[in-house]
Amino acid sequence: MGKKIGNAINRIGIPTFAVGALLLVLLIAAGALGQSIPTLISDILKRIGMNGVLVLAMLPAIKSGVGPNFALPIGIEGGLMAMIICMQFDFEGWGLIGAATLLCILFCSILGFLYGKLMNAVKGAEMTIATYSGFSMCAFFNILWLAIPFSNRKMGWMLGNGLRETIDMKKFGAKNIISDFLAFKIGKVTIPVGMILTLALLCFITWLFFQTKTGMAIYAGGQNPRFAEASGLNINRNRIIANVFSTILAGLGIILYSQGYGYTQLYNGPMNMAFPAVAAVLVGGATASKASIPNVLIGVCLFQGLMTTGMPVMNQIFTGTDLSDIMRIIIQNGVILYALTKVKSGGDR
């Protein structure tokens, strides 16, 4: 009996199981403390929608053998730049989202291509180099935000030049525009249909991509490069394609995230967005060399569920102190750290 349970846990994966159990405990605690469960669930759903695509961006990178995309900020900056440029030209509402999406794909393709070239040059040390190239890209864009003469008053500081730290999407009629699209309520729970559809669509596209000949080749190259080589595949080219794909998803992910959050966060905002996304996919049962769409979805649900439930529960337990925020940071980083320790590097060789 004990053995059977042990086997089942092994199959689900220990991190997934541990985080799932913690989430369950927190949800029960929230209920017992008199929190509104429907509000909590609405929040969780919204945050899943906001973060899902950023987590999905891990998939192509992992499958291609590059490992989790720690350089997520690169794609995020590409997406932000696309949005800012469209805002500069006063695009609003759906026009803004549409134009930014197109521009984002263009920018992120270029950035992803260059990043892919870099990853091919540093085979074996991808994770570290990726993390630092993400950080460097943030620094570089910080300069751009200040140096490029954007002139739209809605984005600038009250005084002086350069862009604001956070830009209100409401001023461009784009706050919650996707979240509220077709949204409806079941009882008191709000279902953000627009976001869920977007996430589902991108998941489908990703899945479909990995059913194609190219996708299959990328996957084989990630699993066993020598095998792929012997089948006449160009592994470096495939890794670049995967990185471009991942970077584009990161860019689209930040557009989805920003509209849900209501603000575009510039400067150091993107810097630390890679870790939660990496943690989420690992919590979902992926490893550094293997990942699937279910890993992404399970991971984002568990991780965001934990973050969303954790906070109000902590608030209530530690009312009137600063402790709640500290606890939040401890939980968030604790889960990230835990998931990262579970990264098994290398393929099956």
């Binding site: 000949k213 299959m216 020598r226 012997a230 089948s231 595949l233 099956d348």
Partner: protein, 546 residues
């Protein structure tokens, strides 16, 4: 007395509900060489994995029954427990760390350390590695094997034969070893290397070490073992004193019918047309360097390439497929071929079955059906269905194709959706063969096609190669360490020595001539020494069936 005896008591094992071992009883005495034999997938490696406490066993629900050492339940839960009990294992699939040197691989986890000032205060972890002493020990172990490669060479890129020796050297080097398991150690070795190994095994047994020896080569078992245990489909069939049993009887007990590898003259159509011409081929494959080979292959023939390990015979096919840096002029079907660009090579109709099935041959954590279809899909766009602008993989066709192959090649699996990593070693090899066949090549390069395959399946694969040549007119270049295999189907055999072609022999030449030529004696002298009628064989050259 059961003093120091190793016993398996009623051992059983299931992999996800599928019983692969059923109530096995077996014992090994100190100083005895106990052979274990059975078809591919009979459960030999699984039984040994249980003995060695391998994680695959305990991650998949453990096993039933007991392993006893000296009459007591040994409770082996991991390889470390096994080592504590003095059990060592040479694995069928290598467990070496590529980036480490031979010495480091031999000494891993058992490093010899020297005291330092720091270590006096902080304990053993701060001691320095004694590289000199370690290298000395490694040298000693390598010498027992008669292996003259430098101990500081990196394991990465070593030919498989050498890796096998390193693996064995690591076990030999362990002190306090009481039982040693060899899981198909000779599968990757040539005949003379095998001799070295069998000698080493006898020496070890004479020191009182109990040896379990797994092999598909019956003659070795007869020669080296004291007792033999036969498994069939996870069940114990018999345990016999080797001196009371013959190879034919063992084979019959294993598969339920008698088998031999005799040469039967076929009806091949070998045209005079040259399909492949190789001039001054140089391949920089570590340990199997090719230093200027010229050869010519005619359409429809089966050309054998033989030679000792390390002489470069494996480098030829690997070089032609661009797996290693390569130079030279290659002409295929009258057109020049850029061998460095293997995607072009594959497209033009050359396929390659690598000798390194784990490293090059398989996607271990992908299903069998995908493994079989993969190359044909990427190279020729087979198994693809067009949906609008997308070329999607056709799962159904992939599945059906694999099922057909599994039947043809007798791949023993519960379903073709299983991961290739869950197959027994020999069945993995059959999956690789299946993949090469799906490419439907005009020229098939096969390296060690029957390595690790049981005698039943070996015959099946050799017959298949022969029928491909006879019925489809496929040209085949087969590289093999096994003379019997080369001689059973090839039309002519090139012997490679020191990276060059030493000469060409006919499959009907005597063992002696083969042996002499492989060790570097010129053809004339070899013929003279063996007293063969020289002219006859020379004339026949490559046209035995032509």
């Amino acid at each position: 007395m059961n003093d120091g005896i190793l016993e398996f008591i009623n051992v059983g094992k299931e992999y996800s509900g599928h019983a692969v071992l059923k109530g096995i009883n077996m014992d090994v005495r100190p100083g005895e060489i106990h052979a274990l034999i059975g078809e591919n997938g009979a459960g030999k490696s699984t039984l040994m994995n249980i003995l060695f406490g391998m994680p695959v066993i305990h991650e998949t629900g453990g096993f039933t029954g007991e392993v006893r050492v000296g009459g007591q339940n040994a409770k082996i839960m991991n390889p470390h427990d096994a080592m504590e009990q003095g059990i060592g294992m040479v694995h069928q699939e290598f467990m070496l760390i590529p980036g480490f040197s031979i010495t480091e691989n031999i000494k891993i986890n058992r490093e010899i350390t020297r005291e330092t000032l720091m270590s006096k205060f902080f304990g053993q972890r701060m001691e320095l590695l004694d590289h000199k002493k370690m290298a000395g020990d490694a040298r000693k172990a390598l010498d027992i094997m008669g292996m003259d490669i430098e101990e500081y060479t990196k394991v990465e890129g070593l030919p498989v034969g050498h890796m096998q020796f390193v693996e064995i050297a690591r076990e030999i080097d362990k002190t306090g070893i009481r039982f040693l398991v060899f899981d198909e150690p000779t599968a990757v070795l040539t005949e003379s290397e095998t001799e070295h190994l069998l000698d080493a095994i006898r020496k070890l047994a004479a020191q009182g070490i109990g040896i379990i020896f797994i092999s598909h080569r019956l003659d070795e078992i007869i020669r080296v073992s004291d007792r033999v245990t036969i498994l069939r489909d996870g069940e114990w069939v018999a345990t016999e004193e080797t001196k009371n049993i013959t190879a034919a009887e063992i084979a019959r007990l294993m598969v339920g019918r008698a088998l031999t590898l005799d040469r039967t003259e076929g009806s091949r159509q070998i045209s005079g047309e040259e399909i492949l011409r190789v001039e001054n081929l140089r391949v920089n494959m570590p340990g199997e360097e090719v230093k200027g080979v010229d050869l010519s292959v005619r359409k429809g023939e089966i050309l054998g390439i033989g030679g000792l390990a390390g002489q470069g015979k494996l480098g030829i096919a690997n070089g032609l497929m661009g797996m290693y840096p390569v130079k030279g002029k290659v002409t295929f079907k009258g057109e020049p071929l850029d061998v460095a660009n293997n995607s072009e090579t594959l497209k033009k109709g050359i396929a390659f079955l690598s000798e390194d099935r784990k490293g090059v041959g398989l996607l271990l954590s992908s299903p069998i059906d995908l493994n079989i279809a993969f190359s044909a899909m990427e190279v020729h766009g087979k198994f693809i269905k067009k949906v609008g602008p997308l070329s999607l993989t056709d799962r159904k066709e992939i599945r059906e194709n694999a099922e057909k192959m599994a039947k043809e090649l007798d791949i023993r699996c519960t379903s073709v959706a299983q991961n290739a990593g869950a197959l027994s070693g020999g069945n993995q090899q059959k999956v690789c063969v299946g993949r090469a066949l799906c490419l439907d090549p005009d020229l098939l390069l096969v390296s060690e096609p029957t390595r690790g395959i049981d005698i039943g399946a070996k015959k099946l694969i050799l017959d298949l190669l022969k029928s491909l040549a006879e019925e489809r007119g496929m040209t085949i270049v087969m590289t093999s360490s096994e003379l019997a295999e080369l001689r059973s189907i090839c039309d002519r055999v090139l012997i490679i020595c020191e990276g060059k072609v030493a000469g060409e022999l006919s499959p009907t030449d005597s063992d002696e001539v083969y042996g002499l030529m492989m060790s570097g004696v010129s053809k004339e002298e070899a013929m003279k020494a063996s007293g063969a009628v020289q002219g006859d064989s020379l004339q026949k050259g490559g046209a035995v069936n032509g």
